[in-house]
Subunit: 521 residues, 2 copies
């Protein structure tokens, strides 16, 4: 019996927690519930499925269901697939809710991903579909020690290098704790043996000197950077740098983002598709594009004992209604949109649909005449954090060292910030982002070329960036359950909200359950 | 006046420390003494320079001196340029000191860099030459939270994921210190205001709960990983994982490598040349290859008041001596080799040459039939650390997700370890590395295909991996000073030993001083 077969058997017999425990003990601990390409065994005998929405959930369902022998049709509101898996490039025209138009003017090859932009190493579903669909991936730089931490109210607004705050905070904290250990002031939960090891480890961890102090030295400069770095030839000797005092580090509050890149969703190694996130959508389209009816705006979903009938019109307003029918329906339409469509889902499902709100967020793609962040400041990829409304600046993780114009993520904000930007016309949003960014990079003023700003509450096909549950604990099972002949799928029907992996896993789960119904398993 | 001109003026007037301080205050803090392409102004009027060694120091000198109008000849022992900037590929044959031959059997496109393998973001000299020479770079993955920390005497020899030890150590340390702060047991150096901020920061830093405890929770699992990760559909709810107890973390000693990747030489973003480190050597050769005499083994260096005469023979043993003469000499021959060559350098220089020892190290390139570390364990690049003699395993930072055979760095050891491997024939070294690695990756046994092992004390053209000073403080000025008509250059004449940046900076410094002598500045 192969390892996979054994795991499948454990999974079937005892549920997925047992399977995961088994996988862990076999040495293959997984960080996604994706367990390899799905196998839908048994003949669906001509059953048909109508899929609403050609985002990643819809296209995953379409691909796998067709492979399993179903008749599949996908209705998509837009003129292309992907949904939130979306990339803007030069020549693109984006019309947001309210009618404001943005003509993207980026140079050839430059792009911004207004939606998802990163693929964590443990999002095995996305990664495996990328591989199956021939989507090339490259590392995304999340943590860059040479990028900045910035607050308008700290260090006179002067950005500090991540490495300086990270090294100094860790050094001071280690010194403080070492002092307590040396005074035998730790409570009795730490044994004398462990206290000795703790001291030794703090010395390494905090780069402390022989007296367990965090001080200016070649050793600490090797982590926080030098006043004059080691060089070559006669004048090669380095000059160490002075650490920032504990009080200044604490009061700066720049420690707030020290561990952001250490969460499992952002840990190295993390990826991005070469050329833009929508390469995934394009990859799916190559395989199942023939199943998709584009520019189809769903106006009514009607299910009964024998099937599902969906009415749709042309998204661009051409006259005439059409209908599509099937035995079953996989509905990936975000609840923000679905709530505005006539349907006859159960009362319970309707109440979940109607109670889900959608988060707002704003993202800026700014093109500059040159990569000043690389050329002047030696920042290659990675993220600068700030308390300004732009919240962060992410430098491109591709085409390092290249000449010519480049696009950075000039801001990525949430909550109140998103609402504020939402209220401004696009060109004012961009102007604000440039004004804010110039406080960190003075070169912005001279080097800015053009930009776009996407506020997700104004994105017509979703009206928000991800679903927020009114009461997840009470509602989740209802939303995930089969309602008549329909199963919902998408990031909202997952515990990975806003992540593409959530959309894919949710779709795989939905079609697995649908298939059981169909083949009577 | 441009920023660069201003900096150049400050540099000339007040020395490099002043210049660096100025650069910092102008917002362009640098972490290399490389300050952009060198300008050697003034006419050398036909002066000639003989350069010994076509490694990065020698080729940098050759390129810049020829551009400045010098007559340049380079003598190189090997059949190709690069020195320690060296890559082994399938089809290569490597004969080490003692005569053992290794025929490299890697598949097309696979390689190992026995010498330097990484380019830190602040090694501006190397980076800028890469750009000028058209050498493409890609990110090197140093820190991978999904790679392992391993000790034979910890956790029954079972490797732990980096993220688990990193999160748990930080969490426990933060909890311990928070407890002390809450008990008002910190000494009076921390004010009450700062203590409050310290508490708040420790909560973020250590992922502590509302009681400042580091516990099993969704929050801590989001950093250390889950027992069952968040998924999609009905069974999507996650199950958090149990942190490892402080005592177990401490006693495992796996904390020893938690900050290794945080030193400035290893911080993200860090690079490697696409296709192998010797792409840099190839880039130089394209420009100044015509200046190089290959297979030239220097046997004598004779300098007098009028010039330098160097005698050399064919490296492969063909009969006949030849001589080359020039007005000046840049000697990049490692002192380990130079000490065995007849020369008439000053007594002081001779004593430095003779007293320098060279470090040993060993590196393994192991080819496997498939990328089991990616396919089975989801490790994409990065480094696993172990207390086994192999010391570390580095997974390839290129061609992620590809099928077919791949090469990883199966070990990189120093000190006593290097001596032990040095004493074994190559095939036994490789067999040992496979045996050790199999303790971390059981797949080694089945998937191993072939390998090479380079021990640097047996590399004929350097006999070690970098120079170790007997007394750097006392000797450095002598070694760097012009001795008659010769200047030494290479990583050994730098404060960046073993780094290519040291070689380049040392060469730039040497030729700058030489040029001043020649043009009488």
């Amino acid at each position: 019996m192969s390892r996979r077969q054994l795991l499948a058997m454990i999974g079937t017999a005892a549920g997925s927690v047992a399977m995961y425990n088994a996988m862990t003990s076999l040495g293959f601990a997984q960080e996604s519930t994706y367990s390899g390409p799905i196998k839908l065994e048994g003949d669906p005998k001509g059953a048909s499925v109508l899929i609403l929405g050609a985002g990643l959930a819809g296209m995953t369902a379409a691909l796998e269901l067709r492979d399993a022998g179903y008749k599949v049709q996908v209705l998509e509101y837009r003129e292309k697939a992907g949904g939130r898996c979306w990339t803007l490039r030069g020549g693109d025209k984006y019309v947001e809710l309210g009618g404001a138009v943005q003509d993207v003017k980026f140079a050839e090859g430059n792009y911004i991903n207004p939606g998802p932009w990163r693929i964590p190493h443990h999002h095995y579903g996305v990664l495996d579909y990328c591989q199956r669909l021939g989507v090339k991936l490259e590392p995304f730089m999340q943590v860059n020690h040479n990028a900045y931490l910035h607050r308008t109210d700290a260090f006179d607004g002067k950005p500090q290098r991540f490495r300086e705050i990270a090294t100094d905070y860790r050094g001071h904290v280690s010194e403080l704790l070492a002092k307590v250990v040396n005074q035998n002031a730790l409570d009795e939960t730490v044994t004398a043996d462990d206290a000795k090891l703790l001291l030794e480890s703090l010395k390494t961890y905090g780069v402390l000197d022989e007296n367990y102090a965090y001080v200016k030295s070649d050793d600490t400069s090797e982590f926080r950077g030098w006043d004059k770095p080691p060089g070559g030839g006669v004048d090669g000797a380095p000059v160490p740098s002075e650490p920032i005092a504990l009080s200044d580090v604490l009061q700066s509050r720049l420690w707030a983002n020290l561990v952001t890149g250490d969460s499992i969703d952002h840990q190295g190694t993390i990826f991005q598709p070469v050329g833009g996130m929508d390469m995934i959508a394009v990859g799916f389209e190559k395989v199942i594009g023939d199943l998709i009816t584009y520019n189809a705006k769903v106006t009514k979903i009607d299910q009964n004992d024998t099937g599902v009938t969906v009415t749709y019109v042309d998204s661009n307003g051409a006259a005439g209604e059409q209908t599509a029918t099937a035995d079953y329906c996989i509905c990936t339409i975000p609840f923000s949109i679905l709530g505005q469509i006539e349907h006859n889902f159960s009362g319970e499902m309707t109440s979940v649909i109607d109670s889900m709100s959608y988060a707002g967020s704003v993202k800026f793609g700014l093109e500059f005449k040159r990569r000043f962040w690389e050329q002047d400041e030696r920042i290659y990829g990675g993220i600068t954090y700030t308390n300004l409304p732009i919240s962060q600046i992410s430098y491109p993780s591709n085409d390092y060292f290249s000449d010519g114009p480049a696009v950075l993520l000039g801001g990525y904000g949430w909550g109140a910030t998103a609402y504020q930007f939402n209220a401004l016309p696009p060109e004012e949003r961009v102007a604000k982002a440039v004004e804010y960014g110039a406080q960190i990079h003075p070169q912005y003023t001279e080097e800015f070329s053009n930009g776009v700003a996407v506020t997700w509450h104004r994105v017509p096909w979703v009206l928000g960036c991800y679903g927020i549950w009114a009461d997840k604990e009470a509602q989740y099972a209802t939303a995930a359950a089969m309602d008549g002949r329909t199963l919902m799928a998408g990031e909202h029907i997952s515990y990975l909200p806003a992540w593409q992996e959530g959309a894919i896993l949710s779709a795989l789960d939905a079609i697995t359950r649908l298939h059981k119904v169909v083949v009577g398993a």
